[in-house]
Homo-oligomer: 256 residues x 2
DNA sequence: TCTTGTGAACACGTTCACAGCT
DNA sequence: AGCTGTGAACGTGTTCACAAGA
């Protein structure tokens, strides 16, 4: 797909030119990891980091799965995509796992981030501590309001939106975060792309149109709320229906 | 799964007791809609709302699919889950579609929202305009800081976190939004659940443990960034690999 | 003729269950 | 004896391709 992806849908997937040989292990492996597994690996990584701090050195698939909210078979399969780093009969060495997941997720490099749109959300993002801590330094901030240019937010001076292309190229931004109003989002996106940014995290409630080689992920509050709304409604309908048929919500017969 | 879900992964899925008959059309239908389709329906709804404002009255699957960033077969299948409201040879009536999608997503009811954790993000959420506009009135705000209690944010006075249970029950909150630091999230979640909240949107970077009947969706910035990081890395590896084999990124032979 | 709606084929992701190691 | 790693079975979601209908 040449477009977005929200909670678990598809992602930009370039066809798939295989054509490598010998020491292609890591590359080949990375290519084969299912998208859904990548998202979970990030979760495992966080849980494992917590374990390290608690001094845990070894963990079984069952324990880690429980803490990550998945079943253990899935966890083991996910880990098998990145290699076999467990010990049968024992479990996984926590630090070893952490370092392998970090490697696969590309967290050994620094990925400079640019945030565009310094409103409520942009401020929150610029000040978000967990951002730089894990190798995602905020390298640039942009806004369309000339009064903001030069003003430092979270320690970084805001640049004008017209300078996106040059500043991003200069500072080697690899991830662009769009936190603008929806009307501005596509134009901002186009500028980011022409600055060479290939990964975009979009908070604006619009479907961005991008070239195939650009990866967009979206965080869409309205969509999330509406999905929850759907479940509230379904639940209510179910309850109503079940009672109509004389069966209570939990299977108890109310009117047999 | 009895846990979270982020960008496109699984969602709490209670087993599936079928057992209804006659006028069960809507209910039965709702139950059958794939989770992934629900997320897209919300996107179609937004696109269609824009169309209404532009005065568009009819739209083909091809056009709508383009605007929503999906392919037209998928769009038609998604719409078919909610019924057959198109006209062959012509397309869909925009207003008809809007009202059917709204009905299916449960947007005809009001869903009161409580936001817990009035920090940077909580402020942004409380002030977010698109929230109440579409049937999600913010009915309560909570924070642990006693200095904040009583202070109005976005027009609503903040209550203390200890009052979650009573206040949420009183105001019939159906969706809880957790915007606290990670350490506080599970405790807040437990209180929301005991107040009867069955749908939770979690911004805290932790895996919440909840009973099966509670639906949790999570928005996890760190995970999103790491997924993008993975793609940056994969891309770099690919490029390296391709060049090693004498093939450039776009298939051009550099060293045949 | 044009576009929808959908069965059938396919691809992807999950779960099961057990062989293989420690 | 215990836990990992994984082939095979299963289920869900996507895409194809065309019949049905305006």
């Amino acid at each position: 797909m040449a477009a977005q992806r929200g909670e678990g849908d598809g992602v930009v997937t370039r066809p798939g030119e295989t054509g490598t040989e010998a020491p292609a292990d890591v590359r080949e492996r990375a290519r084969a990891i299912p998208e859904a597994a990548v998202a979970r690996l990030a979760v495992y990584l966080r849980v494992l980091s917590g374990m390290v701090e608690q001094g845990v050195t070894t963990i079984s698939s069952e324990e880690l799965a429980g803490a990550a909210g998945v079943n253990s078979a899935k966890l083991r399969k996910d880990l098998s995509y990145i290699g076999s780093y467990g010990t049968r009969g024992v479990g996984y060495d926590v630090e070893v796992l952490v370092s392998h997941i970090e490697r696969i997720l590309g967290l050994t490099r620094k990925h400079s981030v640019a945030v565009v749109g310094i409103g409520n959300l942009g401020h929150a993002l610029a000040n978000y501590g967990g951002f730089p801590s894990r190798g995602f330094p905020v390298a640039a901030l942009f806004d369309i309001d000339p009064d903001l240019t030069g003003v430092p937010v979270g320690g970084i001076p805001v640049d004008h939106i017209d300078d996106i292309t040059t500043v991003c190229a200069e500072r080697e931004v690899s991830i662009g975060v769009i936190a603008t109003p929806p009307q501005a989002a596509q134009a901002v996106c186009d500028r980011l792309v022409s600055a060479g940014v290939q990964c975009i995290l979009n908070f604006a409630p619009v479907v961005l149109q991008v070239p195939d080689y650009v990866e967009v992920r979206k965080v869409d509050l309205a969509v999330e709320m509406q999905i929850l709304s759907f479940h509230v409604a379904r639940r209510a309908d179910e309850a109503a229906g079940d009672v109509v048929n004389g069966i209570g919500v939990d299977g108890v017969v109310i009117r047999p």
